[in-house]
């Protein structure tokens, strides 16, 4: 069965993660995605490079695409894009604001060649506003949006430590971009109309925090104002980043301390375990598995007051009790007991070892691909399944300049035409490399 976006043609001028990952997801749903790179290649090719121009990061963020090299500073290179655009459905770009105009590939230029084009532009801060033209990257959006301070990591020098497990703003922007492209395709199918879509790393990062970011005066008077006052007081006396975090964290612990007893990690006799209780019945399942009665833990009883003076003390006492129980047995035994009780809990796995995990294998989350230069590889496949239009990883990432000639020929260039584009440096890699 073909994918949901079967027959849809996507041209991307993107690099690093946010733009390329959007292209991967469209490809997973069946779109034909062509990636344009400069002769230097997507910057991602050089991060963790293990063969010339090949890195693991580049491979996962560009699987399923064909790749061509065009010099978009060269008018002939721009002319190639203009010649291809009438046959494209979707165009993706994640350059700084102003760059598309300079290269002649902005929305107005391309729309005049293909009025029903869906044009997606992802930027760091959005297309307008005081920061629109500032340089961005995932961790910049982490810092700017509050995600980083929200993660509350501090390094040994007292500086902020970033979220290292992933690049959350990049992924959020990539996914919102793909959703918008699909919605715009649906709109075009119903009305014939194309459009411009704007997404940003900042909007993506804000969305990831929407449960906490909002202002709601009735609630904020009690829960948020003390945090703001605490931060202001530390700033007033010239306190450090670490002190600001402590002020914020102390208040958070007071409000959410009892919740975090059963939504957090503990050491076991041979490692660690994570609890993820979100309901009172989840918490009771854990208490039963641990052998804790209502006298041991009063935090879910109707008369427990999280804002009362002795609440921190009670929460600390319960935490010590839970810690003691978990430390007395192995992770495997605790996970088995908690599974038995139906409670949400898991061992803490290392990312490098997930490829062989039995659940990951059973679901087919990891896919096996063959790269023309670097051989076989296993990587994370599409993040969802569809019954009528299956998602699938459609191939490896392209080697730099891998499909330039094929794509140019497909879009009507003769062998001589291709050769002269290569000779002028408008397409392909310089001859000496």
């Amino acid at each position: 069965m073909p994918g949901a976006l079967d027959g849809i043609k996507v041209l991307e001028v993107t690099q690093i993660i946010a733009g390329p990952m959007c292209g991967v997801m469209l490809s997973d749903m069946g779109a034909d995605v062509i990636k344009i790179e400069s002769a230097a290649g997507d910057g991602m090719r050089l991060l963790g490079q293990f063969a010339p121009h090949e890195s693991k990061g580049y491979h996962v963020f560009n699987r399923g695409k064909r790749g061509m090299v065009l010099n978009l500073q060269h008018p002939d290179g721009q002319a190639v894009v203009h010649r291809m655009i009438p046959e494209m459905d979707v165009f993706l770009i994640n350059a700084r604001p102003g760059v598309p105009q300079r290269l002649g590939i902005d929305y107005d230029s391309l729309r005049s060649l293909n009025p029903s084009l869906i044009y997606l532009e992802n930027t760091a801060y959005g297309p307008s506003g005081p920061s629109a033209h500032r340089a961005g990257a995932d961790i910049i959006a982490q810092a700017y949006s509050g995600l980083m301070a929200g993660d509350e990591k501090v390094d040994e020098h007292g500086g902020p430590d970033l979220i290292t497990a992933t690049t959350p703003a990049d992924f959020a922007a990539a996914m919102t971009s793909s959703i918008a492209v699909c919605a715009a395709l649906f709109h075009r199918e119903r009305t014939g109309e194309g459009q411009k879509i704007d997404t940003s790393l900042l909007a993506g990062a804000m969305m990831l925090q929407n449960a906490f970011a909002s202002r709601l005066p009735v609630s904020d008077a009690i829960m948020l104002q003390p945090v703001l006052d605490g931060l202001a007081a530390v700033r007033e006396r010239g306190g450090s980043y670490r002190e600001m975090l402590a002020a914020k964290g102390g208040i958070r612990a007071l409000v959410g301390g009892a919740f975090l007893l059963y939504y957090g990690g503990y050491q076991t006799s041979d490692g660690a375990i994570m609890l993820g209780c979100v309901t009172p019945s989840n918490r009771n399942q854990v208490r039963n598995a641990l052998g804790l009665g209502p006298d041991d833990d009063p935090t879910d009883s109707g008369d427990f007051n999280a804002m009362a003076e002795d609440s921190a003390e009670i929460v600390a006492r319960v935490r010590a009790l839970i810690s003691e129980r978990f430390a007395a047995d192995t992770t495997e035994n605790w996970v088995a007991k908690l599974d038995q009780a139906g409670a949400p809990a898991a061992q803490v796995n290392m990312p490098e070892e997930m490829v062989d995990d039995p659940q990951v294998r059973a679901l087919g989350i990891m896919v096996d691909l063959e790269h023309p230069i670097t051989g076989p590889e296993t990587m994370v496949g599409p993040p969802f399944d569809m019954s009528a239009t299956p998602t699938a990883a459609r191939g490896s990432s392209p080697p730099l300049d891998g499909d330039t000639d094929e794509v140019l020929a497909q879009y009507g260039y003769s062998a001589e035409g291709i050769a002269s584009l290569r000779a002028s440096g408008a397409a392909g890699l310089p001859a000496q490399s």
């Binding site: 961790i139 459009q195 969305m207 898991a346 059973a362």
Partner: protein, 430 residues
């Protein structure tokens, strides 16, 4: 302008984050979303509750929907849902595997009532495999998928700490689901065919780690295999979680030179982040900071050479001491002037008033019928030919039950008797 999903009707049987946020994303795109709750309500109504059944989290994750209350554990309640389904295009659920079958809300049952239905199911671990039936929530899947260990936070008792800034697996599963629904609507428009879409928190957690989770044997032989061996040897020797994380953090790392320009540093009045991705970015930062003798971007610099570590440490110290001598405002002016990627480390609590957030209108004001005006993170994207976003707040529990039922052909008498029997509506006592 209407949204791109204008006229599309979505029924949502979901709670907490992954399912509800998918519904919100669809509402932002113009869909008419009806949220179906049990008489107790979505559990996130009680996480940080500030008025009965109302929490900030629930408001943020459920804006733009209408709400109805139905007791799906009873067969009359199921009949009401089955009578509604033929008029819906999309059904979104995140109940545990097996529950949908038990309450007759599974794909096969609903597709019989509406053959071109688009049915989205979000689960923790998926519907097959050894963990399919296990309970999952965002932090549990953070742990299971490797995200938690990858973030390398350890509390003072040596226990692992989750990523606290967001619920990454939940959000990515929600977004993946919304993407699947939009693609399926496109497919249905072309072919008339509906379908079932499945997404998981586990798949989402792994997708977020795609660059590190995969195997590329040629690359891994040098960079990953030694790490895997070290971890398994340490485990065999009985190492604690904190020791494993420490070893993982301090492993030989050819990327250290990259990391000193892609990192956070304390300044006089807070902290600043540098986010250099390219040699040009690093040059911009060096210019702004007055660093003149950094060889780490020279062609002949060997990142795994014997003196690489000492060189990188020396430059890192120069960056650290330069930045420590100024304020956020002073350094941001200098870094912005050379075009370098950098930002103050902001506090989420301040972001509603941030000039860029305000300029992009990322946090519009909406009015909640019970709790008044609020400012929320708005729609995911801006679209030139379709409006995104919604003026509607999250629904109070049971707010729209009667209106929705009436619209779907239930008479006032029927609604009255369904309420009296406890099939629809919140408990009379509550």
């Amino acid at each position: 302008m209407p949204g791109p999903l204008d006229g599309i009707k979505v029924l949502e049987l979901a709670q907490i984050i992954a399912g509800p946020f998918c519904g919100t994303a669809l509402a932002d795109l113009g869909a008419d979303v009806v949220k179906l709750e049990s008489p107790q309500g979505d559990a996130s109504r009680r996480i940080g509750q500030f008025a009965p059944g109302e929490s900030k989290a629930f408001h943020g994750l459920n804006r733009g929907k209408r709400g109805i209350v139905l007791d799906l554990s009873s067969s009359p309640g199921q009949s009401v849902a089955h009578r509604l389904i033929p008029q819906f295009d999309v059904f979104v659920t995140n109940v545990r595997p097996g529950v949908a079958e038990r309450i007759a809300m599974d794909y096969d049952t609903l597709a019989r009532l509406r053959p071109d239905l688009i049915y989205l199911e979000v689960t923790g671990y998926g519907t097959r495999g050894p963990s399919a039936q296990r309970a999952g929530s965002d932090v549990v899947v953070q742990a299971y998928s490797g995200l938690l260990a990858g973030d390398m936070k350890v509390d003072r008792r040596g226990a692992p700490e989750p990523i606290t800034a967001s619920a990454p697996s939940d959000y990515v599963a929600a977004l993946g689901g919304a993407m699947g629904v939009c693609a399926a609507l496109f497919h249905r428009q072309r072919t008339g065919e509906g379908q079932r879409i499945a997404t998981t928190l586990l798949g989402a957690g792994l997708a977020l780690q795609a660059p590190w989770a995969g195997d590329v044997p040629v690359s891994d032989a040098i960079l990953i295999e030694p790490l895997r061996r070290m971890m398994s040897e340490m485990r065999e020797a009985g190492a604690s979680y904190a020791e494993l994380i420490d070893a993982r953090r301090s492993r030989p790392n050819q990327g250290r030179a990259f990391r000193i320009y892609y990192a956070g540093y304390p300044v006089k009045d807070g902290a600043i982040i540098l986010g250099a991705l390219t040699p040009q970015n690093r040059d911009q930062i060096r210019r702004a900071l007055g660093i003149v003798d950094d060889p780490t971007d020279d062609d002949d610099f060997n990142a795994i050479g014997p003196d690489a570590d000492a060189i990188v440490s020396r430059i890192e110290e120069q960056i650290r001491s330069a930045l420590a001598g100024g304020t956020i405002e002073e350094w941001m002016a200098k870094l912005d002037a050379v075009g370098a990627p950098a930002s103050p480390v902001n506090w989420l609590e301040d972001m509603a008033d941030d000039p860029q957030v305000v300029a992009m209108d990322m946090m519009p004001t909406i009015e909640h019928p019970l709790t008044g005006p609020e400012r929320q993170v708005g729609p995911l994207v801006q679209m030139s030919k379709s409006t995104t976003g919604s003026d509607r707040s999250s629904p109070p529990l049971d707010a729209d039950t009667d209106a929705v039922l009436r619209k779907h052909g239930f008479t006032d008498d029927e609604i009255g008797s369904l309420r009296a029997a406890g099939v629809v509506g919140a408990d009379a006592s509550g």
